[in-house]
Symmetry: C2
Subunit: 620 residues, 2 copies
């Protein structure tokens, strides 16, 4: 684990320096933090930086990091395999280079500097008045230059990115030419890109693994990665005939060496037990040659995305597979992301399942929370952040959960392309109690199963409220709910134990109230929205003239109208009871936004670049 | 002007200290800021603290202050005439003791301390982790103890109050018993109160005054202040017969010595020229004996409220009075605030008008912006911050303003009892350009005419948008627009030159669209809202069932429906043109919230109380 104490310069002069920040170029020499740059050194221990991800598609930049919850800080180790004249590394809301928070290493050809900077809405770089990316060291090794630096989750500097749970969009840019100052860097001309990671990995302890644990690899059979940017590859695998019930207790990625930057995410699905057999297949998922029946292989057994590590089930539970009533057929899906269109790359990546015949006390289950897939939940076009909410009501959990409750230990958030944020909150007696999972920088391109920091106990009578935020600024007609990629979903697949019959606890607005809305829009605006009963709900949404009143009233409708609740044993079988025109759960007490923990300002360094003794750059 | 440099302790130890704030009680002795307390001293010069206000009704606490715009800080001098065991002084959103930002002087009977504290939502006091009320000195004088301290406008500490333009609610509390620590102070048991002031007085230079300037006092004739909390006193005065046209170029308060804490505000109104004479009157404004005709004396000549200083017209303009077409009759109105119910206090306060016969280039005028007084603009009950907006449209200013434009130099905001915030913004070509006047802590009990920091130029085609925020949490039925004290207004009286014919530039929602709203509410909710045409708009509002949908849709209506514009020469005479069903001005660019200027943290002191050498307290 990195020690940050090394990095602290004398705080007294630095403090005074901050007051005269504008003069720093003349004064800085007196207060330099001279870094000892070891020109040779041993490779850092793997355990120091347990998480690793390539930043660029060629893997020239490789980021490793660890998370210190006691320090509320992330320690980064950035390996630069070919250093030219520096690089930018940082974070921004959705991976853009504007309004980004950046650590910059730059060289004028003679000297090199490191500094904390931010980019404004036009992409212009500025030195940050408070230096919160703290350089801890730089080290040359045969494989390249290692930069070590530290960043607190929250700096309380409004120019800085707040590192939160969920997705973080990392950005990088490579300086190909010398620059005389930070301000001279032209961000728009940089060779750069973005990488999504879950930076704040939960620090949960690894459960005890049993002695009789076995493993099974579900991997692609030496696939030639297609020379196109995006490929979803499908490969069918089978469990042995008569394979009895086991518990999957862990799984981990198997990524072919050299392809770390190409394998974007992988999932193993189990097929439906209704069919005796499934055809073999090994090819792109969108191929016309793909057998229709593969669409019935949708039950998630394992999911991995770039940057994720092994997934462990809690000690008390495992995911059942094998045995009677369970299909032998598995589908492996790999998303290859190949933006540089490499040709002829071969890949045998996949997922290694670890399982045991000694069944754990509980089967784990997966429950779907959020919105029903129905066009009655729609988003007007041109919205920058439109909110839809799905409810799992007290009535449903009262009926379907055991009195001892269930424990949610992992969650996978899901929307289609317009999704920007997803959050599920647990409420009890109308009071929000706990966030189940939240992602304020959610991307539909990065849907991992995430272990929760804390297991969430849900009891009969609790409510689970899932809220999705959408951006439809690039669309000209309404986006309705549905299965299509241009339709939308709002789903949280929660992984829990003990398994119950409740597979689906979701909602949608009452269709009768939506009809009243169409009527109201029609009358209020003197416009002809076709109300003929034979016209579909999507058609009615498409014909609405989207003025501010019609937008606002749709929001008001969704915040007021009763709901239809799907409290289902499977997608088609409801629990007995009245589920139509249910009242919206009323929340009387909201969770507070956590107030950011600001580091004492002594920890931050003044607004001056830190010179590095790297010698002449451009070594290639 | 106070020098703050004296107050800065060595910043190095204080910085380290902040890191170990929790240990401060043991460590503090090493880092004391020992204050030199002069036990005798000369009175401070008046000019050091030009603004003065009594805090309590007895005048035992007297606050003087100055404003340093270069330093972005206020320097306070608090005179405590009878010090017991300390006091609290501070600021909060609306004068409450919860969520307040406080400077506290307390004594355990032996030693005295000063510290920056905050109170939580339950009124519990906490030492602030950043000490932003900076003690500059303490001094005994024959009249009492003077405390001198400094506070930056903005500290960037989320626990601190942000000092903004407009009303500031000051609070004070007196410690009657010794306390052992700050945390031991029971805020709810304190003898305390609130005082409203405009803390950030504009620093505008005083215009040159002419040699022939004369003055005239309009003062109460030795009135016995009634022994009740609130009295509005009315006194009729007359200008001499044949008094020719003059320009009022300045006025100032005349407050009877000893009554500084009782005279809350005063206004001089000119009566309507339509009547040849007005009856004499000297008595309470709400008396049955008050002649009906006094209601026609409503044209404001001068207005003063506690804490305000002299009011100066700009050098180019004066307020016309006297001469043909102008009434000789004036009404002085004084609000006596006598919460301790003193008996037999005599008062001869009033306003001294300074005027000149040498007319200045321009007559000043007063224009009314905001909402028309009509019930169509209504606020649902139980709202904590409901917003209504009135528009002075481009079409009206195009028609009514001279091509050289007008200059607004002062403003008086006005609502009835539910008003909480008022702001007027100037927009040009749909872009917000400038705040004309804003008060985020507006109180209907503190309606001063305020000189603007900067004169605002308004040209033909500009829009003036006035937005009021209301709180109706204590009401059970809708609050409609109107003249009644329980009805509402949203008005900004702007003082400008050169005078034009435009007296009133206001708006209200189109009544036809409001009818559609009533219709829609009726149909959507399956409720019986009486739509019979003979039922008044207030009655229709009173019968609405106020669910979230009806509330939201009313907001949407006000944000969407066309408006009826009153672009009037006087309250009854419109400029020619079509003023019904006008489009709402569309604003494409909002003004940014100013980002607060945070002082370098070196300026603030660590979280430790500062001991004072005051000797044993309770000298009486």
């Amino acid at each position: 684990r990195m020690q940050s104490s090394r990095s602290k310069p004398c705080s007294c002069p630095s403090l005074k320096l901050r007051e005269v920040a504008s003069m720093y170029f003349t004064l800085v020499a007196a207060f330099l933090v001279i870094l000892v740059v070891a020109l040779q050194g041993s490779a850092p221990r793997q355990s120091d930086f347990p998480y690793k991800v390539p930043l660029d598609p060629q893997g020239l930049l490789e980021l490793s990091w660890n998370v210190s919850y006691p320090e509320q800080a992330v320690h980064f180790q950035l390996l630069i395999r070919e250093l030219h004249f520096g690089l930018l590394f940082g974070m921004s809301d959705r991976g853009e280079f504007e309004n980004a928070d950046l650590a910059v290493l730059w060289s004028d050809g003679h000297s090199s500097y490191f500094g904390d900077a931010w980019s404004d809405a036009k992409g212009q770089l500025h030195m940050d008045s408070q230096q919160d990316y703290q350089l801890l060291g730089a080290r040359r090794a045969p494989e390249g230059l290692y930069l070590l630096f530290r960043r607190a989750f929250s700096t309380c500097d409004p120019k800085d990115y707040l590192i939160e749970d969920g997705t973080v969009h990392l950005i990088y840019g490579i300086l190909e030419k010398p620059v005389h100052s930070l301000q001279a860097i032209n961000v728009s001309a940089l060779h750069g890109g973005l990488q999504r990671v879950q930076l704040l990995k939960p620090n949960i302890s690894i459960p005890q693994l049993p002695r009789d644990m076995k493993s099974m690899e579900i991997t692609a059979p030496d696939v030639v990665i297609p020379s196109q940017e995006t490929t979803y590859w499908c490969y069918m695998a089978e469990l042995p005939e008569g394979f009895p019930k086991h518990h999957i207790i862990m799984y981990e990625p198997v990524v072919t060496a050299g392809n770390e930057a190409l394998v974007h995410h992988m999932e193993v699905f189990q097929c439906a037990a209704d069919f005796d057999s499934f055809p073999r297949y090994n090819g792109p998922c969108d191929s016309k040659m793909k057998p229709e029946r593969l669409n019935y292989c949708r039950h998630v057994l394992a999911a991995w995305a770039m940057g994720a590590q092994a997934f462990y089930y809690p000690e008390e539970a495992g995911l059942a597979f094998g045995g009677p009533g369970s299909s032998r057929y598995l589908r492996l899906e790999i998303h290859y992301h190949n933006p540089l269109v490499f040709k002829g790359r071969r890949d045998s990546s996949g997922i290694r399942l670890y399982y045991t015949a000694t069944l754990r006390p509980y089967d784990a289950g997966i429950m779907e929370l959020g919105l029903v897939y129905t066009p009655v939940m729609a988003i007007p076009p041109g919205e920058d952040s439109f909110i839809l909410t799905g409810y799992c009501t007290d009535k449903c959990t009262q009926l379907a959960l055991p009195s001892a409750g269930i424990r949610i230990f992992a969650s996978q958030l899901h929307t289609h392309l317009a999704g920007r944020k997803v959050v599920t909150v647990l409420a009890r007696h109308g009071r929000e109690r706990q966030v189940v999972n939240a992602d304020s920088h959610y991307s539909p391109h990065f849907q991992e199963i995430r272990m929760l920091k804390e297991v969430v106990a849900v009891f009969p009578g609790d409510e689970l409220i899932t809220t999705c935020t959408y951006n439809t600024e690039d669309r000209s007609r309404a986006t309705v709910g549905g299965f299509g990629i241009l339709e939308e979903m709002c789903v949280n697949y929660v992984h829990y134990y003990p398994q119950t019959q409740l597979e689906l606890c979701k909602s949608a607005v009452d269709p009768g109230y939506l009809r009243r809305y169409f009527n109201l829009v029609n009358r209020f605006n003197d416009e002809e929205v076709c109300m003929c009963p034979q016209v579909s709900v999507p058609q009615q949404f498409y014909s609405i003239p989207w003025n501010t009143f019609n937008r606002d009233v749709l929001k008001s409708l969704y915040g007021f109208a009763p709901i239809s609740v799907h409290c289902n044993k499977s997608s088609a079988v409801r629990f007995p009871g009245e589920w139509e025109k249910q009242p919206l759960p009323s929340i009387t007490e909201r969770l507070r936004e956590p107030s950011p923990h600001c580091p004492p300002s002594a920890g931050a360094q003044p607004a001056a670049p830190v010179p590095l003794h790297l010698g002449q750059l451009r070594r290639d």
